[in-house]
Amino acid sequence: MTRIPVPLRLLRLLWRPGAGSTALVALPVAAFALVTALVLVVLAGAMTFYTAPPAEDGSTGLYQVLASLALALMLVPLATLGSSAARLSARRRDERLSTLRLLGATPGQVGALAVLESTLLAAAGAVAGVVLYAAAVPAVALLHFRGAVLGLDALWLSPLAVFATVAGVALLAAASAAAGLRRVVLTPLGVRTRQQPAGAHWLRLALGTAAVLGIVLALSLLGSLGSFLAIAAVAAGAFAAGLAVLNLLGPFALKAVAGRNLRRAATPERLLAARTVLESPKEAWRQVSGLAMASFVAVVAGTGLALMDSAASSGTDDVLVADIRTGVVITVVASFLMVACSAGVNQAAAVLDRAGLYTSLDRLGMPVAAMDAARRRAVMSPVRTVSIGSAVVGAVVVFPLTGIALVVSPLSLATIAAVLAGGIGLVWTGLRATTPVLVRVLAAGHRS
């Protein structure tokens, strides 16, 4: 008889979803499917700029750089979504995992099992994502770039690229699950989250302020250079520095806002929401940091576009500006979509994680609507802070330009603002989608 590794044997034993757990399998699978589909679509779109014959005006290089930039921007929300999905699938079977520990399985075996499970769910989701990608391609093919529609043919990726993406998503899930396990204690008596010290040191504030001053100084020195290339270089530098600043300031800002909200909180839901963010500002930041990037880019790029729009003289420049605008909108929408999904997935996981607590609040007579409002607010408050705050940081970094853009091309900036507002609405919808999970948890509490 061949020896099957212990985790595999355990997996075979556990791989029988019980009644009611369908949604818990479906959620991470759906999230992974979406991740994969988005990656494939974006990759296909970016590839068109690499595979197409070089343009006569020499803009090919610029397009390639911009496409790569858009790809890079989506990596953060993508990784967040991937790890959220991985953690949800790891938590899903908490009780069974601790039972295994009770029965004598080693932490290593149980950990391997959790990682294996997440990987399989991710692989299943990724395969579904390929189908989703195939379904989305006809719509994406209608997008205009370089004065023409992209066309179906340009968007089909090679089988190798598709396979590599599926494998990449599965690997990401495995890595995230392994990283997620470090944050929980798997004991025979249960799985609980490790006590984490609240982060967000004041040092962040000092470093962040210094960086902002540095950027403004650099910009004022370079701002006198009028050429397009100089503006592009400055924008790129400011962009990279801005992102670094956002990452430094993010948790600190969230902690400060939540602290103020805590002092002002008059209702149970506001109190709970503020305390939830304060519990771990870094975690709250991690969940929404993808939005910081997107909002920041939207404002910086939007400003640049507005200026180029008004300065554009030749037809080629017009096309380029329109193309960049399309690219920015796509990047921002995709980022919000991913943050909405990961917020939904995270919340589903959190509700399941705290089923006992929610049941006890229900028994105390706390209305479901209040519990729901509390957990939604705990996400929406950081989302608002981060998207608006990042937009403001973006505007400050390219300050004189934003002011000019606002005057010469208000419509471009209005479009960006509308996209940001729509994105916030998208996250709200993602959270709404998890209300049934809470209702189901409470209903289970009523049966026991």
Binding site: T267, P268, R275, L357, T359, R363, G365, H446, S448
Partner: protein, 274 residues
């Protein structure tokens, strides 16, 4: 003749093929402390949940003699039972089930805030309750920074801060060692029947049940000994304090309770502190 504060008649409840309760009759007098005992699966938690309006019986009635007249608990809708629970009842669970992100005082104040009390008014009352239960100076600790016995006393404060007429406790000492368990029971009895409120608790522990005014035993969903439901004279060391006025005037009685709790030697508020 006292009117029972809770009157259950012919309660039945099944989960699929298994019968949890089979025709239980029970009267509970106001101010009494009743321990429900029985083996695992005997239906004691189901009985507690039906009495508290958390679940509905398949058959039978539970009548709660509230301040605004008798209420048939089982016939109320989900929302009305939620209101009844947050208005009239208090709960203490085995694992405390306090909100881990909130401080001790916020956890207690939450129960008042759910009822609509402004936070500014809720927190001082909550702090007084914590002090009365021997947790003075620990108001701003988070739940993870408290011992099991201390967390359970926060839960007791949360159950009584709103002036609940009846407190339901499900294995309130189940996770504690015997000495801490005794201290928590002193706090629980002092905060409930010691103040003329009613306590209904489920327990496995004979020594916990012995502290209560009355013990009933369940076996396979049926009562073995309903006994006399009229309150018997307590022989435990619970301070005999008069019933506090209704929760609307919470502030003053709570203050008096604080003083009594501190002055009464039998009521040892610091006993459980680590």
């Amino acid at each position: 003749m006292t009117i029972p504060i809770l009157r259950a008649r012919n309660l039945s409840k099944s989960y699929g093929p298994s019968t949890a309760l089979a025709g239980v009759d029970l009267d509970i007098a106001p101010g009494d402390s009743v321990a429900i005992m029985g083996a695992s699966g005997s239906g004691k938690t189901t009985l507690l949940h039906i009495l508290a309006g958390i679940i509905r019986p398949d058959a039978g009635t539970v009548t709660y003699a509230g301040p605004s007249g008798p209420v048939e608990v089982g016939s109320l809708g989900e929302g009305a039972r939620s209101r009844l629970r947050r208005g009239e009842f208090g709960f203490v669970f085995q694992a405390g089930l306090l909100v881990p992100e909130l401080t001790a005082v916020e956890n207690v104040a939450l129960a008042l805030m759910i009822k609509g009390t402004p936070r500014k008014a809720a927190e001082p009352v909550a702090a007084q309750w914590l002090a009365a239960l021997g947790l003075a100076g620990m108001e701003h600790r988070r739940i993870g920074e408290l011992s099991g016995g201390q967390a359970q006393r926060v839960a007791i404060a949360r159950a009584q801060v709103g002036g609940a007429s009846v407190v339901f406790a499900d294995e309130p000492t189940g996770a504690l060692d015997s000495q801490t368990s005794a201290e928590v029971m002193t706090a629980l009895l002092g905060a409930t029947s010691g103040r003329g409120r009613t306590l209904v608790l489920v327990t496995h522990d004979e020594s916990v049940a012995a502290r209560c005014g009355r013990t009933i035993h369940l076996h396979d969903g049926a009562l073995l000994n309903a006994g006399s439901w009229e309150p018997r004279t307590l022989t435990t060391s619970v301070p005999a304090v008069p019933a506090a006025p209704p929760p609307a005037a919470a502030q003053q009685p709570e203050q008096r309770f604080v003083q009594r709790a501190v002055l009464q030697p039998a009521w040892d508020p610091m006993g459980g502190a680590r």
